[in-house]
Amino acid sequence: MVIVRRLTLTWILAPFALLVVATALCADEPIPYARVAPLFQKYCYSCHGVEMAKGKLRIDKLNPDLVNGKDGDHWREVHDRLNFGDMPPAKAPALNKEDRELMTSWLAQERRKASLAKNQATHFRRLTRTEYERTMQDLLGLAIGFGKRLPEDGKSKDGFRNDGDALRMSPLQYESYLQIADDALAEAIVSGAPPVVHRYRLSVGEKHANFEVTPLPRPADRPGESFEYNAKKGKAFRIWNMSAPNKDKDKDINKVWDPHLAPSAIRRFGEAAVQMPERCYAFGFHQAYRKGEARIKVRVARVAPGEGADATRLPILTLALGSTNFHGVELATIGEPIVIDHTEYRTYEYRVRMENISPPNTGPLNDKNSAVVAAWNSAKAIKGEAKPPRLKIEWIEFENPYFETWPPATHANILFAKGDMAEQAYAREVIRRFAERAYRGPISPGDLDRLAKYWVKARSSTGALEESLRDTLGVVLSSPRFLGLPASRASGAKEHLNDHEIAARLSYFLWSTMPDDALRRLADQRKLREPAAQAAQVRRMIQDPKAWLFIEQFTEQWLELDRLQRVTVSKSSYPGFDEQLAAAMRLETIHFFGEVLRGDLSIFQFLASDFTCVNETLAAHYGINGVAGLKFRKVKLDEAHHRGGVLTHASILTGLSDGRDGHPVKRGTWLLKNLFDETPPPPPPNVPELNRENPKVKNLSIPQALAVHRNTAACMGCHRKIDPWGIAFEEYDAVGNWQRDGVGATLRKRRTSQPIDAKAELPSGVNVDGMQELRKELLRTKSDDFRRAVLRKVMAYALGRSLNLGDIEAADALVPALRERGDRLPALIELIASSEPFLTK
């Protein structure tokens, strides 16, 4: 229900920045030199030719081959002069608009070619923060968020974060690697007796006085003594019994309480204060758990729905860990919420690394500075529901550090059973096995010798074998061989990747981590070079849960989903917009990509589809009925939804708005750049941004305002090629609502009385009105451009570098093969993975 507050409504005109572009070029058909040569002759040679060489420049002598010639700088000068309109000079014969555009377009095209050709391929690059974290986790078997300790990676101009040019190294960063390696190995490889284990149970009772935390004894089958507080009961713990008193007005906490938890949610306040859910059970320790794995068990049941209750409504168990602070708590939800559909008690188990939880401050712990475990019923609360679904909790157990055996599996995986091996031989073998996994391939005897020598030195200066191995393996984890990806050979000649390098390239492409055992085995057997075997691996990898890393990162970076976070959506224009909705918008596009990839669908689904992926939050935004729960699922769309393909995803439409209205220039630029790889040139310097407060355009609709500016000669050349694409999006507002009817129309009425104008004349001369027609036109005329663009984007991500001319040609050459294979996305991935640039270095 939208409440329209006509009288109190304040109009916030979000800054509307329109970039006015003065140059005129957007790649269409390639322009041959023969077409522009007569123009240069006609307009330039009289002053810069045989008879005269003003400014010592002879354009007739310039080499028109910008790729191999040496006149690039002169051509740049010519290009700039033409762009800025100061050549030819006023007294010379005027240069007409079409000719000027043709000349500048040719120059732009050739200069681009030259810059691509001169960009030599680099292969060696360091791991991204995400890749480093995943690799460390897989290598060591520790689910710790290592990457949080590194600075954020840069972004390439194409938006990819795995581009080697953007992945720099600095002394501070190297120090972080050294430190993380030490800390990680200290967790993975243990020495000495098992540590003391903290095990507690919060038992829930019917009376407040029955709530208690008790230490648990050591289970017979597990090592590690239990720790016992020697403090009196109640001193070392704080219990939050936030169940409801039986009568709300009854303040006597010693009377019987209702121990059943009704639905509730974490409450947020304006400041960084988070309060416990209204109804929950929690306990806090006066002991900060900062390291190691924790195991939490919760014994729960659903309260049988009574007379008249909706039996389909089920309670949902949510568990969180965190810490108290001055004014509230900070809680991190652990695992996925669990729907509880049984009325008898069952036990659920959670595991979590305490390193990933934000601990309380160091120093003395008290009620405002303690670690917290909390559990509650996170089913959606419905106002006025007489009998909501309720959750019973019998107890909650917490154990840290948790390990089943001593030494733990992480240790045994690296320090295998020594048997009767001599120490030196054993150490060498431990190092070899570890280094071959870390370096993603066999280690040369020379390299192994050096590591072994290093170990000998470490051994002589440390007390324990474990310590010397930690030291040595720490070196492996700080080596560029581990921190960096496959590199070229000194010979400079292009060569085929070996099997292990193929495994690594595939694995970082699709999983952002090191190869798994299956890939490694195939590489050992030298089978990965066989096209069929490789294709089979690609198919397997796509279906593996780890491919989410590719799906998420590639989608986010290709389609610039991070724009969503940079837009400040006007609260008064869109009262329903909040963080949860923004998060759901982002996930729709990512899940959609996943669906196309794993469902073996055509890439043209991105342009038009009859399905999308939503959860209940986004379904409500889109007006799609029958979707309950926070999980994303594929839903069928019909015409009345006015959705389909990423062009109508709220993530894109919102990210390309100014927070109040859609932004046709951003939308048009985005479309050309990401879906057709035709990046419009940036506006030249000194061009002012269009101020919407300017009286000249203030009362115009956006398309009208754009038209005013487009029609000034300086801007027209380029904007004529950008704006129309974006204007066709006008049917969708700044949060992606369809605004011709329904909620979107109501919201629009509050913002403006201007009618929607989505009519545009595309650069080809074709007229379209709105999204439906735009999509049709894209599919009709630009399908090969789209194939090429997706191939190039995936190629850039797969190689981890900005593409050079050779790479682009290789990607473009795959178009017919892609068409032949039904344009299916997995086929596209296979084609990239078997392309020459991918398999060579």
Partner: protein, 441 residues
């Protein structure tokens, strides 16, 4: 020039140093060194609860409004900042700076992010504070990386921390509050055990970095040219790490500066705030003067009535209860307390200005940040901010620089970091740089 009490005995210096390789600059040893080579110091002073900013129609508006009434070079200090008048040409007052993501939070939270700029709207994950970035930059060149001080000490609880320094992982760094212990840590030799452990750690660090350098060089020989250039960045980073380790090792063998214990009154308690605050400041001055450290952060008063410092105003006879109470009360007592704090900061600047380093004053080589994370209490915008000193680091002073629209404090931080040879392009959520404070040349 009279000999300073802590002046180094040349013989003890050399004895301790063993081989004197690439020694960092010390005034006592190198009077003739050019200004550019002099150590650059940074310190930050924080007070909580904002400042008195009476409205236009209040009688206290003219005299007790912390910010001057006009900006530019011709501003007039109100009584709140009058004690700083003598340093007018060595300082800049800033208006309209704040950390964007904290602007809508209740002001008290900003104590945690004043020096970090972290986004704590969703959770309280913090990030590294600017003093620690500078400390890391110079850590190998001084005996200790940084001084982290507060009147209350420790870390307190999140969002009301009693420290303003946070490490690279965003963890609060416990602040020291006992002057005697601080002095002992700075100027008394470590125990044998501590020293041996430190030596072992450094030696194993060296061994590792040496190995990695060799390893990278051998890897480099097998690479094609473009890839070699990439790897060179690894090699350069490693060499720098190695240099730092070498320097740290050298520090272990170096004799401590001899400081006259009697020069500072260490028997002070926060119950006598003036002596206490000045002793803490003197410790920072002494640590800078002896080049024992180059980064310091001191939380003079915490936020929101936390800790002993809340009682400072009442001990001083300022009406209105605790500091937090004063900040919710009438303007006049609050303004008086603002003035009191300004007097202490002026004392610190006096001390820095009175100490010579070659031709210059210690103040010229020290950048001092003074301020709060709220303008008035609970309002996390328009942080009261003063930056003083550091003429040799290229700062231009003498103005009140006011923003038309709220601007990220991170802009100023990035430009400050550049003056400390930290080439960061971004700090927290800065939008750009703050070149207005740089001297034109």
């Amino acid at each position: 020039m009279p000999r300073a009490s802590w002046h180094l005995d040349r013989r003890s210096f050399l004895r301790g140093a063993g081989m004197a390789l690439a020694l960092p600059w010390l005034e006592a040893m190198a009077d003739a060194s050019p200004p550019a080579a002099r150590p650059k110091r940074f310190c930050a002073f924080f007070f909580g609860n904002g400042v008195a900013l009476p409205g236009r129609n209040q009688p206290t508006y003219q005299d007790w409004h912390w910010f001057p009434h006009t900006d530019g070079a011709d501003y007039r200090l109100t009584r709140s900042l009058e004690p700083l008048a003598a340093h007018r040409n060595d300082m800049t007052i800033f208006g309209g700076l704040s950390h964007p993501t904290s602007r809508l939070l209740v002001g008290h939270n900003t104590v945690d992010v004043w020096l970090t700029g972290a986004d704590i709207r969703l959770n309280l994950h913090n990030s590294i504070s600017i003093d620690q970035v500078i400390a890391r930059r110079y850590s190998s060149q001084t005996r200790i990386p940084s001084l982290v001080l507060s009147s209350q000490g420790g870390v307190g609880t999140k969002s009301r921390s009693t420290t303003i320094s946070f490490d690279a992982q965003g963890r609060a760094i416990p602040a020291e509050s006992a002057p005697r212990r601080i002095f002992e840590r700075l100027f008394e030799p470590p125990t044998e055990g501590d020293r041996a452990a430190r030596e072992r750690a450094l030696a194993s660090g060296r061994r590792r970095v040496d190995f990695l350098l060799d390893d990278s060089r051998s890897l480099r020989n097998n690479l094609g040219r473009p890839d070699q250039q990439r790897l060179d960045e690894f090699l350069q980073s490693l060499s720098e790490v190695e240099t730092r380790l070498v320097r740290s090792e050298e520090w272990l063998g170096r004799a401590l500066p001899q400081v006259n214990r009697g020069a500072i009154n260490l028997d002070v308690s926060p119950r006598g705030p003036t002596d206490y605050i000045r002793t803490m400041m003197n410790l920072i001055v002494l640590a800078f003067e002896t080049d024992t450290t180059r980064a310091a952060a001191y939380q003079i008063c915490a936020e929101d009535g936390v800790g002993i410092c809340d009682r400072f105003p009442s001990i001083l006879g300022i009406a209105g209860g605790g500091h937090h109470g004063v900040s919710h009360g009438p303007m006049l007592p609050w303004g008086r307390y603002d003035r009191y704090l300004a007097e202490q900061f002026a004392y610190f600047l006096d001390r820095l200005a009175s100490i010579r380093e070659g031709e210059d004053r210690l103040l010229d080589n020290t950048m001092a940040l003074y301020g709060s994370g709220t303008s008035t209490t609970h309002n996390a915008r328009n942080y009261p901010t003063i930056l003083a000193g550091a003429r040799n680091l290229g700062l231009r002073h003498g103005r009140f620089i006011k923003q038309q629209a709220e601007r990220p404090l991170g802009d100023l931080f990035v430009t400050m970091l550049h003056r400390f040879d930290v080439p960061m392009r971004s700090f927290a959520d800065n939008a750009g740089e703050f070149s207005e404070i740089l001297a034109r040349n």
